[in-house]
């Protein structure tokens, strides 16, 4: 049993840097606890934002294998698929084009044969080739491959047209009814002006579309009536083959559910009918704070570039707490845990830690009592040139050795005392609040009366939870 514990401990020490050990609480519509590396910071609202309290917008479409950009209209036309790249129908990997030399008769002289290049698609992962499904080799490297045509395309298109027309008609009727009700209260022109902003109108899910812009004066125009034949119900169904229950199953011959459902047009049951499909496009998205409508993250347009035009991530504004080492934790015995605090900004930051009070509504997960250092911790600014500057004098901060273990450029290590309160299995979790000063460089500098040009610092408080692992046996 102790050997297993040694192994667990070893694995645990290696995982202290895992991001899920330290969680920050985000105040939004939902209280979300998430590692700092996955959070954003709106510097106009001065608040942390998680992925769930921002609105996601599609920036651009691109193909993940050929990295070709595609405007949104074109992407919609091509059903969000790349024109050049194919996916293996068997393992969903990207297919590559391979060439072989085949002897083919020369067009001038049928008796002589010359080597001509023939191209086929092959998957490097599962070794599927286009010859497996009977697709003939093409003589051009790209552009020769076609997806098989869906036999029901015409019927589906007709149905779509009919229902689109029906939906439009219904919307007009609905708007007309609403307008008739509203007329006594407000004139038509005003209601559009004092309505909600279009963006919020759009992003509210489930809300009826109230824009009256659809109400046009062209109602009198005759729209072409589209009629569809109703679907016929058949009485006779194709019977199952007689040896359905007795025939031994040949697993490699059939398709898996995933392979089948990736081709919703045909859903072939046999592997010999799996045709390759064009590759799905991926999107680049930009994030926007819901309260102040500022962009939090805006990637570059070029698919090959991983940089951002706007990148307001939390790790570059909020000091980050990380666990450095955990001693053996025992039930109701006090132990010292070593944590580190890193300062991401270039000016000196003052951090105060406050333990959570009794009955704190945010403190729901902690299973241990924690004693944090009372004094204020001072973090030096992040200086990118510090390692090259040999003449720089080390700043003297006069640290209390009981509290501060070490100091290294913009990082300090400090101790907290932990007393686990719960016995048995389960991880020891502690939580406390971090209070630090933040200089908002985004806000406009207001000329103050004393002529002081420096930006004012505001104090931000975050609730942090740490997972210290299991108790020692």
């Amino acid at each position: 049993m102790s050997q297993r514990w040694v192994e667990l401990r070893r694995r645990e020490m290696a995982s202290l840097l895992q991001p899920e050990r330290v969680l920050y609480l985000v105040h939004g519509e939902k209280k979300i606890r998430s590692p700092l590396s996955q959070l954003y910071f709106c510097r106009y609202c001065s608040e942390l934002r998680s992925l769930e309290c921002v609105s996601h917008e599609v920036d651009s479409h691109y193909c993940p294998s050929c990295l070709e950009n595609m405007p949104s209209a074109e992407a919609k036309l091509k059903k969000n698929r790349c024109a050049n790249c194919f996916d293996c129908p068997c393992c969903m990997h990207t297919l590559s084009t391979r060439a072989t030399n085949i002897p083919a008769p020369l067009p001038d002289d049928p008796t002589k044969t010359a080597m001509k290049k023939a191209y086929y698609l092959a998957c490097g992962f599962c070794r599927w080739t286009s010859r497996d499904v009977g697709m003939a080799d093409k003589s051009v490297a790209s552009g020769g491959w076609q997806e098989p045509e869906n036999p029901h395309t015409q019927r589906i298109n007709k149905l779509i047209e009919y229902y689109q027309q029906l939906a439009q008609r219904e919307k007009l009727e609905r708007d007309r009814k609403k307008l008739a009700r509203r007329r006594p209260f407000m004139p038509l022109a005003f209601s559009e002006k004092y309505g909600l902003g279009t963006r919020l109108q759009r992003t509210r899910p489930g809300a009826p579309i109230t824009s009256l812009a659809g109400l046009s004066l062209k109602e009198g125009e005759d729209q072409k009536e589209i009629n569809i034949e109703p679907a016929q119900a058949l009485d006779e169904v194709e019977p199952l083959p007689e040896d359905c229950y007795t025939r031994p199953i040949n697993l490699p011959e059939g398709t898996t559910l995933r392979q089948r459902l990736l081709q919703p047009d045909f859903q072939p049951a046999g592997a010999s009918q799996l045709h390759p499909k064009h590759k799905h496009l991926l999107i680049k998205r930009s994030l926007r704070c819901r309260k102040c409508e500022h962009n939090l993250s805006k990637p570059e347009f070029n698919p090959t570039s991983i940089k951002f035009k706007i990148q307001l991530v939390a790790v570059s504004y909020i000091p980050e707490v990380r666990i450095m080492s955990i001693p053996n934790l025992r039930f109701q015995k006090e132990s010292q845990v070593l944590l580190t605090l890193t300062n991401p900004v270039e000016n000196i930051t003052h951090v105060t830690l406050v333990a959570c009070e009794e009955g704190d509504p945010e403190d729901i997960n902690s299973t241990a009592k924690v004693m944090v250092p009372i004094k204020e911790l001072v973090l030096a600014g992040k200086d990118a040139a510090a390692e090259y500057d040999e003449l720089a004098e080390p700043q003297d901060f006069q640290d209390d050795p009981d509290v501060v273990a070490f100091r290294k450029s913009n990082k300090i290590g400090f101790f907290i005392k932990v007393v686990p309160q719960r016995e048995g299995l389960g991880d020891v979790t502690v939580s406390f609040k971090i209070r630090h000063d933040f200089r908002n460089l985004a806000a406009p500098i207001r000329p103050s009366e004393e002529g002081d040009a420096s930006t004012e610092a505001i104090w931000l408080t975050h609730h942090v939870e740490l997972n210290l692992g299991p108790l020692a046996p």
Binding site: C91, F125, C126, R127, D132, P252, E253
Partner: protein, 195 residues
């Protein structure tokens, strides 16, 4: 560089076996087979017979070992011999304990074959796939993916003749080779050593 003499290894003429490879026990290697440095062929519980045209890459391990529940010193255990056919490829880092391997198979990197698997011909065992069932793998099977899924392919993998020719030319330029030991029926005073 001192050659590790292994008197019971029979290396046919035309095989290219690097000195840095480890060959232990009763191993027969056919002609036109290339054994890279750091490959290990260990015949513990019986002889290994490797055919011709095979390609055994670095850190591949072909081992004829005792089954797990039998101690090496047990009496009455018959040595089973391991046969490997022609034109097989053992990619980097694979482990093969299968007693019977046919022709034209490809065992990809870090694949693991158990002792009771029988590979027929044209099979491809994908990278990191573990096959330790007790069965005969049908011809032209491809085993791939993290769940070791299987499918049949219509054509067998091509023999790596180009690669083999290239290696047989280039490897002797950079590595010392183990000298070929021809199996002679008549005993002579000196061991017949031919290049």
């Amino acid at each position: 560089q001192a050659q590790k003499t292994n008197p019971s290894a029979k290396i046919a003429a035309g095989a290219v076996v690097c000195v840095e490879s480890e060959i232990r026990g009763d191993v027969t290697i056919g002609p036109r087979t290339v054994v890279h440095p750091k490959a290990r062929i260990i015949a513990e519980a019986g002889p290994i017979i490797i055919g011709e045209g095979n390609l055994i890459e670095e850190q591949a391990l072909i081992i004829n070992s005792y089954p797990e529940n039998i101690m090496p010193d047990t009496e009455g255990v018959e040595p089973k011999s391991m046969t490997i056919g022609i034109n097989n490829v053992f990619e980097v880092g694979c482990v093969s304990q299968a007693l019977q391997i046919g022709d034209n198979n490809v065992i990809e990197s870090k694949a693991d074959l158990g002792r009771n698997v029988v590979l027929t011909s044209g099979c491809i065992v994908g990278a990191c796939c573990q096959v330790n069932t007790c069965e005969v793998i049908p011809e032209n099977t491809v085993i791939y993916g993290s769940n070791s899924m299987r499918r049949l392919q219509t054509e067998r993998p091509q023999p790596q003749t180009l690669q083999l020719d290239f290696l047989m030319k280039i490897l002797p330029n950079y590595h010392h080779m183990k000298k070929a030991v021809k199996v002679t029926s008549t005993p002579v005073r000196n061991q017949a050593v031919t290049h």
